[in-house]
Symmetry: C4
């Protein structure tokens, strides 16, 4: 274990509360169950990020947030356990300076698209970011038979390579990772990936051998512009519901 990394500096109570609330939102929206996690890059130091200790997302409070280096070493663990798969977050933050927040989940409707040779596509404008393509990471290609977890830096790097320049990638027989250039955008991407997957299942069943008029790549780029505002509106609704529940 390397030396404890130094903090990137204090962050506001509101920052920590929003990050903790994001965990509750993902649970309320059916994206995470007892598992899954969301991280956010340090607002003042791009080489640090925040994520809760290893626990069920629906129980996270601001006091559970830990700061990490991009090697996913905790700055302030204080006896708290870290998620085994924090390397997903650290390695994406290294490889993709544009990404500010990352959600990892086992969102159930999405899993089939990582098991079958059928690509996720954007079924409607709120999921426009999917029109850029949805890569699938199969951990066995590089690492053989494993416990499926992205539980060290090498696996994190390999996953980040699969992700490439997208904001979403699936993990075979495991789950998916949704990213965003804000906390709100990462949550929005995670939620609408699951919603889109549900819609796509019914669409594929209905289509049979017929074609599906999904968003084109160009439509996806255009529709993603108003989604910036849509994302703020959705966050406002979801954040208020958490506040009603937990009082922070």
């Amino acid at each position: 274990m390397s030396e404890t990394p130094v903090s990137g500096g204090p962050v506001s109570d509101a920052f920590l509360a929003d990050l903790a609330a994001a965990s509750h939102i993902l649970a309320a929206q059916g994206v995470v169950d007892a598992f899954g996690h969301i991280s956010q890059r340090h607002p003042d130091d791009p080489n640090r990020y925040f994520m809760s200790q290893s626990m069920a997302p629906a129980l996270v409070t601001p006091d559970d947030i830990i700061e990490y280096s991009l090697d996913s070493e905790p700055c302030n663990a204080n006896g708290r356990n870290s998620f085994l798969e924090r390397f997903i977050h650290g390695e994406i933050f290294k490889a993709r300076p544009d990404i500010i927040s990352i959600v990892h989940s086992h969102s159930p409707s999405v899993i089939p698209f990582g098991l079958v040779d059928e690509k996720m596509k954007a079924m409607f404008h709120n999921a426009a970011f999917l029109a850029a393509g949805v890569p699938v990471f199969d951990i066995s290609e590089k690492f053989g038979a494993t416990d499926m977890l992205v539980c060290d830096g090498d696996k994190g790097i390999a996953f980040a390579e699969s992700l490439g320049e997208k904001d979403i990638a699936l993990m075979r027989a495991h789950g998916s990772v949704a990213c965003g250039d804000t906390l709100q955008s990462a949550v929005f991407h995670a939620v609408y990936t699951e919603v889109n997957a549900r819609i796509q299942h019914w669409t594929m069943a209905l289509a049979g051998d017929r074609s599906v008029a999904a968003l084109s790549e160009e439509e996806g780029l255009l529709a993603d512009v108003p989604n910036q505002g849509a994302c703020i509106r959705a966050w406002g609704l979801w954040r208020q519901r958490v506040r009603e529940d937990v009082n922070w």
Copy 2:
């Protein structure tokens, strides 16, 4: 921007409360999530309509309702933002004097029928109005690659043309619009379009290559008569649930 249009005159508190409650009902019934909107024509001036400011439907209160001209210019914005897609409402109200209320949603079970060449049909009597046929509007046919939104008068006109004399039309890779000759009827149509879509998905899966004994057009017309009363009963139940929740 043209001059601010004058109001069609004051409306009752009950009118505004019912319109705000309709947003909550649509959210509770799973027709809208953070997005979607419902409008109602001014009871005294057919050239004006009401709709909430741009916000999540589940949070709308009577104070959020804005009055619009049929060109979708706000009469009393007072700094409140308007929905980008209000032109759906204004242009339908222009083209269809019989329509009093309009719901736009991304109701998830309905979306596949806008992506695949398979028409929605009436699976049961409560959705009888679907037996008249359900047109699909593909914005790309007239406007090429866009952000998919009906965000100006021209697109609103094109959508209203697709709607024609029906009370429902789908929008490819986007959502749908349900109309009614009362507020209650528009809500009823929106809810039972979603319910019918869920039933039709299972019916198509069960049928495979076999035929589906959906309502005939004649049965649809006949079954729509008792639905006028059914609609009032459903509204009564849903409105009471909102009242228990928000106290107006």
Copy 3:
């Protein structure tokens, strides 16, 4: 309108409370939405039955219960409206002395089996009563194009003929009717017909062209014996939930 029929005599408060609670249970279990109704034969007079006035099941209280003759004429309407389709109940009570309680619903998963030439079968022991066979009533066979409602005595008689000696029958493009020799049994049959339909949809999808090892008719008869006790246990759970909610 014939003369007001005389009452079969007073019933206990507990009788009326249980019948009202059954409406709430059916709503809570997803069998009914704003529509559907449950009736119970008079405990002292087989020629009378009880059913709520025309209203949403989730709002029914004991004070909403009306007594009817088997011609479905109200004994004590006192200005309250009757369900249009009460003739379903009256005509079954006439034709089937063994039946004590009847549920009519538009239970959504069941509707596809009335639209496609594919019979419902018993997917598991709790739905054993389905193994006897599930007839489908198509109102158009005898009455041509209608509003689909069983809204008079002739249609009620025709439906009761379709039902025959079964405890369940579907109505094409409309819904279904589940019966029982007790109030609890009718509710149990209605709930498990919907549960079974959901399971059968997934089973048919999984099976494709392969066979489905549903309960045989003999297994159905045998499994229905312990279901008498199961039905009481389920009722106990559901009835307690209503009591927690409405305090009667």
Copy 4:
């Protein structure tokens, strides 16, 4: 009826509270409805086990727990009724000393895999234990037409033989049984069998004739190791929710 067996000795209040809470958890997670049961082996006497009296799982309290011999004779019935199918538990506890807790349910998404010749497989790492294979017990093979219940020792023995060395087995046209080497593990297995079944249904529908990249048997063994910790985390979340509800 043989003589009343003697108790294996007193257990702690916490032991009984956790076992009762497990029933509530299974109900909250949609694994059981009014039916199904969970047992736990006596911590000090491997020849005794505990299970609630015959009642709906969501209503169980610590006072409802009965102690049984492995012949499924109650030690302390005190007038309370036993589940008809307690022999499932007793005979597995006899045959499999490694098993500490057993869940029997009619978990709905799982039932189709007992009706069709299509094996359940592990769709993701949280359901890794399924990768070892999921046997199906058809009671009719040995016992002919029955009421489908495992209601005596002989049927319990036959079921335990079908289970073999697995922790899960399905029962044709009935339900399934999930086992674990702790209470928490049995609950985890039961919950993720149902979750996995939902995912597998959509995966099979999406795949059509194409292959499904489920967990290999080796991946299943490896992924099951971190699931020991995952199981504790899930239990922590679910147990807290019960405590908020019932105060024990």
